[in-house]
């Protein structure tokens, strides 16, 4: 067991864990931030996606030994009041069904729009196809990402 300092949603934490404990379980078991979900544990479903410097990362693939001094954003920290353009777009387009994969999907979409505020449909499909939704919310997700992109670009003007 070692101690690791990391920042999550702007709050610094010192967690005690084995070196190889994935960030996913630090978030869920140590910090009680259960919004980030387990889906496969091998980085192929996207349910555990979190942000670091605007980039999407699979929390199940980052060992504790690599989290020291890093700062992550989870779904709980995306906005204090459901005001992030992706959250708003997700609600406006009524994307969620069971909702379980949606935190990962929203974080992935945030990273996509951070990287490319005006993605083409092909770019949206390409990036979002790394994640799995078994309910089949993809059509609404596409619309929500386009809506969020519009909101972001209209704010910038």
């Amino acid at each position: 067991m070692s101690k690791f300092d990391l920042t999550v949603n702007g709050v610094r934490h010192a967690v005690e864990a084995d070196d190889d404990t994935p960030l996913l379980w630090l978030l869920r078991d140590n910090l009680g931030l259960t919004g980030t979900k387990f889906g496969c544990g091998v980085g192929v479903c996207g349910a555990c996606t979190v942000l670091e410097d605007g980039k999407a990362l699979r929390a199940c693939q980052i060992p504790a030994s690599e989290v020291a001094s890093r700062s992550f954003i989870t779904i709980e920290g995306l906005s204090p009041d459901v005001s992030h353009p992706c959250q708003r777009a997700w609600l406006a387009e009524e994307v969620a069904q069971c909702g379980y994969c949606q935190a990962g999907m929203i974080m992935t979409a945030c990273a996509l729009l951070h990287d490319n505020p005006n993605p083409s449909d092909e770019q949206i499909d390409h990036v979002m196809s790394d994640s799995v939704c078994r309910c089949g919310t993809y059509p609404r997700m596409r619309k929500a990402i386009r809506r969020a992109a519009q909101e972001i670009s209209s704010k910038k003007q």
Binding site: M1, A17, D18, D20, T21, P22, W25, R28, D29, G32, L33, T34, G35, T36, K37, F38, G39, C40, G41, V42, V44, C45, A47, T74, I75, E76, L78, V82, C86, Q87, W90, L91, E94, A96, Q97, C98, G99, Y100, C101, Q102, A103, I106, I124, D125, H126, M128, S129, D130, S131, V132, C133, R134, C135, G136, T137, Y138, P139, R140, M141, R142
Partner: protein
């Protein structure tokens, strides 16, 4: 009538500050009013508090079908409630309750009792207001969470009335609203719990934490009869956080302080099992059995004979259709928290079958079901998987042995390999034609397997209705052939199998809707026009317990024909397929699918034009979501992963080898809702699935001339020219 056994209402008042109306659509409760909380325990109830809040305790499980929202809408409509002030609570199983959620039944079965309960509460509130104003009830009207005296325009909100209303008798026969007065039912309504989902606040089974909880991973025998050969117990114990290794008949549990330690401990344990025997279950061998069985006569599930003197069959042709094994693969793997203490047990589970769970856990522990408290969490994907309760029984077993509350979490591989699968089946179909090449006979034999997630009752009478229950989509063929024979041949299946989204319908509807296309082509007929032609004659037909309204099936077919410009495909590189289905005679759906092949012969569905008639629509958004979800589910089944078995074990273990549709596989989808002003609503969770796969297969035929009789469709099936 509320006085009937099925629709009993009662009230109770807690300290005069709230009005409660309890109801249950399926069984009788003790009569009378009560002020004691303990004696007021219906499965469903409405509570209106002094501050005007309305709390609806619902008896259905939420797994993404939006049932919480749609049930709340029905209640709010009749109650005249303020939609923004409705709160929901999840009911728990209690003696006689039936909270099971499956079979696309929730809306259908809740529609009437919820309306009656809402209407009864509304009438009590109106009566209380009228008495207070000393005016006639009929001069008052309720809406938006308050009562208005129409002549004077005085208004009082429900919160001020609950004390008085609670003292009134429950009206035995409240007047339901006229559909023309609906203000909430039928409106596009956002999910009641949407913001919880986009903020990470929604709590699923996996998110449950209770004080002192330990975490367990269970290594299960890979096939029935596997024996422990060896394991590295010391290595597992050396993993920090591992508390204990517990051997149980159902497997070896690694119990730890956190999830990762349990996962790591299981890896370190490196359990070795005995090799499977030569005759261990193998899907290739099973296919041979199914194929042989499909040629047998089986149990006749429907027999219609042409009248004497009808045209004789002069030509027949037949085909065999194969439908594979599939996993449910919800993104939230199976999990459960159990806390066994002495002779009691508390469970927190994402479950579709709370009572089955309660009973099976009670049986394991040898205690009465009433001593098992079941807390139902949100479900991260149900699809029928969580009608099985194996994961909860495991959790109780491990908690009992560990003497602590324990969460069992399945790995993705556990979930893929140890689920109850959609069973494979083989379908034999034959059609007969008269001398003028008119189709006059239809034969469909399904060789498949009953569920084995809970033991079948050996005393149950295995009559025609019983066999029909195992072959939806087969015996209820809607087409007007003068001669029809459908049959079911049960084939033993050693691996676990059970309900999956749309239960038994997908395999039969795949075979039926592809073969009717073959029949149409044999007659040189357009497959959509041919279906319409074969849906003439009697408008309403009975097949077993199923009543099929051919007008509604024609309605959805005509809608997709017109909306898709059926005669002129969108693109000459596209193939276009059609299929339709009447799900249990309740919900009617038709699809027109446009698809193309890429250079590697992969099928890409580009566009789906869909029509759905599910009766009265509660929430159009919910209907659209289920249609989209069913279409994507169908694309997964038609084009993505299947489960195969070797040595008694499923060979797939991840989303890589059991692939499901991703966003890149998602077509443009156009949904047309028809018949939304019907009297009653029907279900939407399952019906969108079955006709999707055959619509794709028929589109592939239209494009390539190659008949798809085996799933999933693989590029190698399409390589050679037809």
């Amino acid at each position: 009538m509320i006085t009937s056994r099925r629709d009993f209402l009662k009230t109770a008042a807690f300290g005069g500050a709230a009005l409660l109306v309890g109801f249950d659509g399926s069984r009788l409760f003790g009569a009378g009013q009560s002020n004691a909380a303990g004696s007021f325990a219906p499965n469903n109830w409405i509570r209106i508090d002094g501050d005007g809040r309305v709390t609806l305790t619902i008896g259905k499980c939420e797994m993404g079908q939006g049932v919480r929202t749609s049930l709340a809408m029905i209640l709010a409509e009749e109650l005249g409630a303020d939609w923004t002030r409705i709160k929901l609570m999840q009911a728990r199983p209690s003696p006689g309750s039936d909270l099971g959620t499956g079979g696309s039944d929730s809306i259908m079965s809740s529609w009437k009792p919820l309306r009656q309960a809402g209407a009864a509460a509304r009438e009590m509130l109106v009566a209380a207001a009228a008495a207070r104003w000393n005016v006639d009830n009929t001069s008052c009207s309720a809406s938006g969470g308050g009562v208005v005296h129409l002549p004077s325009k005085r208004r009082i909100t429900y919160g001020f009335l609950v004390g008085d209303a609670a003292k009134l008798p429950v009206p035995e026969n409240p007047t339901l609203k006229s559909a023309s007065d609906f203000k909430i039912v039928g409106q596009r309504t956002n999910r009641i719990d949407g913001s919880d989902i986009v903020t990470g606040r929604a709590r699923y089974g996996i998110d449950v934490k209770v004080p002192g909880m330990l975490y367990a991973s269970l290594e299960r025998p890979p096939f029935a009869g596997a024996k422990l050969k060896g394991m590295q117990e010391e290595k597992a114990r050396a993993v920090s956080g591992v508390r204990s290794i517990i051997q149980l008949p159902r497997g070896i549990a690694i119990v730890a302080d956190n999830t990762w330690a349990a996962i790591k401990g299981r890896q370190a344990l490196a359990v070795q099992w005995t090799d499977p025997p030569k005759d261990a279950f193998d899907s290739d061998e099973h296919w041979k059995q199914l194929e042989a069985a499909a040629r047998q006569t089986g149990f006749i599930t429907r027999e219609e004979k042409a009248p004497p003197g009808a045209a004789a069959v002069t030509k027949t042709f037949d085909a065999i259709y194969h439908y594979p094994f599939y996993a449910h693969a919800p993104v939230e793997t199976m999990n459960c928290v159990a806390d066994v203490r002495g002779n009691r047990c508390t469970i927190w589970a994402p479950t579709q079958a709370p009572e089955r769970l309660q009973n099976q856990v009670a049986k394991l522990l040898g205690i009465p079901p009433t001593d098992v408290d079941v807390n139902i969490t949100l479900i991260g994907g149900g699809f029928g998987r969580r009608l099985g309760v194996d994961y909860a029984v495991e959790a109780a077993d491990i908690s009992r042995a560990a003497k602590a509350p324990v969460q069992v979490l399945w790995s993705r591989a556990d979930d893929m390999k140890c689920g109850h699968f959609q069973a494979a089946s083989v379908h034999y179909l034959a059609a007969g034609f008269d001398s003028e090449n008119k189709p006059v006979s239809w034969k469909h034999t399904k060789a498949g397997s009953f569920h084995n997630i809970s033991p079948l009752d050996p005393k149950e009478v295995r009559d025609t209705a019983w066999y029909q229950d195992w072959s939806w989509g087969c015996y209820d063929v809607p087409y007007a052939f003068p001669t029809i024979q459908t049959a079911y041949v049960p084939v033993d299946l050693a691996v676990k199998h059970g309900p999956w989204r749309s239960v038994f319908a997908p395999s039969s509807v795949f075979a039926r809707e592809c073969f009717i296309d073959e029949v149409a082509r044999t007659c040189n007929a357009d497959p959509l026009a041919f279906r319409l032609e074969m849906l003439t004659g009697a408008d309403v037909i009975k097949a077993g317990r199923t009543t099929i309204d051919r007008r509604r099936l024609r309605g959805v077919l005509e809608t997709v024909r017109d909306k898709s410009n059926w005669g002129s495909p969108a693109n000459h590189r596209y193939g276009r397929g059609v299929a339709c289905n009447a799900y249990s005679g309740h919900t009617y759906i038709a699809y027109v699918v446009d698809l193309r092949l890429d250079h590697d012969n992969n099928v890409h569905v580009e566009r789906v034009v869909a029509a759905v008639d599910c009766g009265r629509v509660i929430n159009p958004i919910g209907v659209e979501q289920q249609m989209e979800g069913g279409i994507i589910w169908g694309i997964s089944s038609a084009l993505k992963g299947e489960i195969t078995f070797r040595g008694g074990t499923a060979q797939q273990s991840t989303f890589a080898d059991f692939a499901v549709a991703r966003m890149r596989d998602t077509p443009a989808i156009e949904i047309h809702i028809v018949g939304a002003d019907a009297e009653r609503p029907f279900g939407m969770g399952e019906p969108p699935v079955p006709p999707m796969v055959p619509a794709i297969a028929n589109g592939v035929f239209a494009l390539t001339g190659r008949r798809i009789r085996t799933l999933p469709i693989r590029p190698e099936h399409l390589k050679e020219p037809a």
